[in-house]
């Protein structure tokens, strides 16, 4: 079988259910592929891994992938299983935030490590500085959890619809005590979880062939996961080596994830791409990318895979 190494963006969880399902259900095997799934973590940058030859294909967010491309590692999007963004800002009502206009002077928790771009471009749209001055907002680098909100160290924190939001709820805060702003609704959403490979490798027909099979099987996995969320959550749980995930949480996450992947057959929607690029190029004082990227995506793979 052909060996394919996939580097995930984060730890094993339902966010990546499609790949685990494809592997577990033998979809990859059917295509003659032997896929190794490497979980990510807070200190793993998928672009670095792929540049160093540690993976054939990676899951990454588009802002980070485009930034990497500009830095000389030519990543190419070959498929986009996630149609919409799950990122949002969740605020405590009691902190006095009701609309984006109330952000001024507040402390906001943000994920960095390449995930801050959508936030920064939103803030620059709002005309808010992020340097902690009185006219702007104070930004705090959020850890991997929702403590800053619960400890009231921040008025709002970044959450994903499928994960952190529910942790806030689990911590005993009622949905009606919260105000949420989805990036999707604010028009600053960027594309999340896409599949990326190195451009020069795509010149190799054998590799291309391999990717076609891979994408086809993965999408099959995704669609299966959407249809059978509970089973998919169970498969993810099986593959979690930390033994720290709970069934309840993964099932719920799978349900939310299914909403995000629902609109996609795997092919990248060029409108979404354009919107992402536009919001990244605005990026305020420190734009993520300085010039329109070229060749940052290809439909060749999905076209072949979805035939």
């Amino acid at each position: 079988a052909d060996k394919v190494v996939l580097q995930l963006k984060w730890v094993t969880q339902a966010q990546f259910a499609g790949y685990y399902v494809a592997k577990d259900k033998g979809f990859y095997e059917e295509e003659g592929l032997d896929v190794e799934i490497k979980p990510g973590g807070p200190d793993i940058a998928p672009p670095q891994v792929i540049a160093g030859g540690g993976a054939d294909v990676v899951v990454d967010w588009m802002p980070s992938a485009l930034a990497t491309r500009e830095k000389g590692v030519p990543l190419v999007n070959i498929a986009q299983p996630f149609k919409s963004s799950g990122m949002m800002l969740t605020c405590l009502k009691e902190s006095g935030v009701a609309t984006p206009a109330d952000f001024k002077g507040k402390t906001l928790g943000v994920w960095f490590f390449g995930n801050e771009y959508p936030f920064l471009s939103w803030m620059s749209q709002l005309g808010l500085k992020t340097d902690g001055g009185p006219d702007g907002v104070t930004v705090l680098k959020q850890g991997f959890n929702v403590d800053p909100l619960i400890q009231k160290q921040a008025a709002c924190i970044s959450t994903m619809t499928y994960n952190e939001y529910w942790q806030v709820i689990d911590a005993g805060i009622k949905p009606e005590d919260l105000v949420t702003f989805k990036y999707e609704d604010q028009g600053v959403a960027t594309l999340e979880d896409g599949l990326y490979v190195l451009e020069d490798k795509l010149k190799d027909p054998a590799f291309k062939e391999k990717m076609v099979k891979f994408v086809r099987a993965s999408m099959k996995g995704w669609k299966y996961a959407e249809a059978n969320p509970d089973e998919a959550a169970g498969i993810v749980l099986e593959n979690d080596a930390t033994g720290a995930q709970t069934e309840e949480h993964q099932k719920r996450m799978m349900g939310e994830i299914a909403k995000l992947t629902a609109g996609s057959n795997g092919a990248l929607d060029e409108a979404d791409y354009k919107r992402t690029v536009a919001s990244l190029m605005k990026g305020g004082s420190d734009p993520v990318i300085t010039k329109e990227p070229e060749g940052a995506f290809t439909h060749e793979i999905t076209d072949a895979a979805l035939k």
Partner: protein, 294 residues
């Protein structure tokens, strides 16, 4: 002279201190966890009295500080109640971390001693290497660990070794510092004696410098093994954090499971204490063999 008694000399003091710590801990639990209960009550609009808060602080789902009995229950549950091969067993994760720790510590000790020997015996190394060994330690390992792992992966090394190397990176330094001092600690007259015999550097090393450095070596080993454990845990982050105590800590922190964090922390601390105590026993045994006046 009274005969030493195990109960009086060991259990009693440790027990007393432990008890004191427990009391402090419980008090801290009440005060750190109370604000959350108050907030919940305030949001619900029901006033709550202090005496109602206290029992609640003991059993929170996501306490700021879990109560000791919660941690004990969790540890008990994840060690005794789970088969040790299970991914949910803390023993399984502890073993993963321990194996990386021991490998890293072993390599680190060897490397540290070799470097110290080089530095003590070769002036060029002393002058040129030491500043860079120091500089190497100021490089935050987490920053370059991913690169190391990626590079190692590219040449086909994966699994235990990359983690062990990170723990090596942290643990060799205390050994170098301690051993450079220890190997230089023989008195002038002891060195002169070797000089009169025209002893070769290796003879001087084995018969004088090495035995003279023992107190320094063992002190360094204690520090190094503790740091090696920290290194192994830290090293689990960039290696994918799939298993091991570090992965448990991270997952616990990621999902806000304070009780799980604390039980992993306790496991790590207990592991470290055990390792340090073992090194301590080795130290005493070696000293006794070296005829040190009791």
């Amino acid at each position: 002279m009274e005969k030493p008694s195990f109960l009086r000399d060991r259990i009693m003091p440790v027990g007393t201190i432990l008890l004191a710590l427990l009391v402090i801990w419980y008090i801290a639990v009440i005060f750190l966890n109370a604000p959350f209960e108050r907030d919940t009550a305030a949001r619900a609009g029901t006033p709550i009295s202090f005496s109602e808060i206290v029992p609640k602080t003991m059993f929170q789902q996501r306490p700021v500080l879990p109560a000791p009995h919660q941690v004990v229950a969790e540890i008990w549950d994840t060690t005794v109640n789970k088969p040790i091969t299970s991914k949910r067993s803390l023993v399984y994760h502890a073993w993963i971390t321990l194996s990386a720790t021991l490998l890293g510590f072993g390599i680190g000790t060897l490397l540290g001693i070799l470097l110290a020997v080089g530095i003590v015996h070769n002036r060029a190394m002393d002058r040129s290497l030491m500043p860079w060994v120091i500089a190497s330690q100021t490089i935050p390992i987490l920053a370059i660990a991913p690169m190391i792992i990626v590079v190692l992966n590219a040449v086909g090394i994966a699994g235990l070794l990359p983690k062990a190397l990170i723990s090596t990176y942290l643990s060799f330094f205390p050994i170098v510092v301690g051993m450079v001092k220890g190997l230089r600690s023989p008195e002038q007259i002891q060195l002169d004696l070797m000089h009169t015999y025209y002893a070769s550097p290796s003879q001087t090393f084995w018969k004088l410098r090495w035995p003279a450095s023992m107190p320094y070596l063992f002190t360094s080993l204690k520090v190094a093994i503790a740091i090696a454990l920290v290194g192994a845990i830290v090293g689990e982050l960039p290696t994918g954090a799939v298993s091991g105590l570090g992965a448990r800590l991270l997952a616990g922190s990621y999902y806000g499971q304070t009780v799980q964090i604390w039980s992993a922390l306790f496991m790590a601390a207990a592991l470290a204490a055990t390792l340090v105590i073992i090194v301590g026993f080795a130290h005493t045994a070696v000293l006794r063999r070296m005829g040190v006046k009791p």
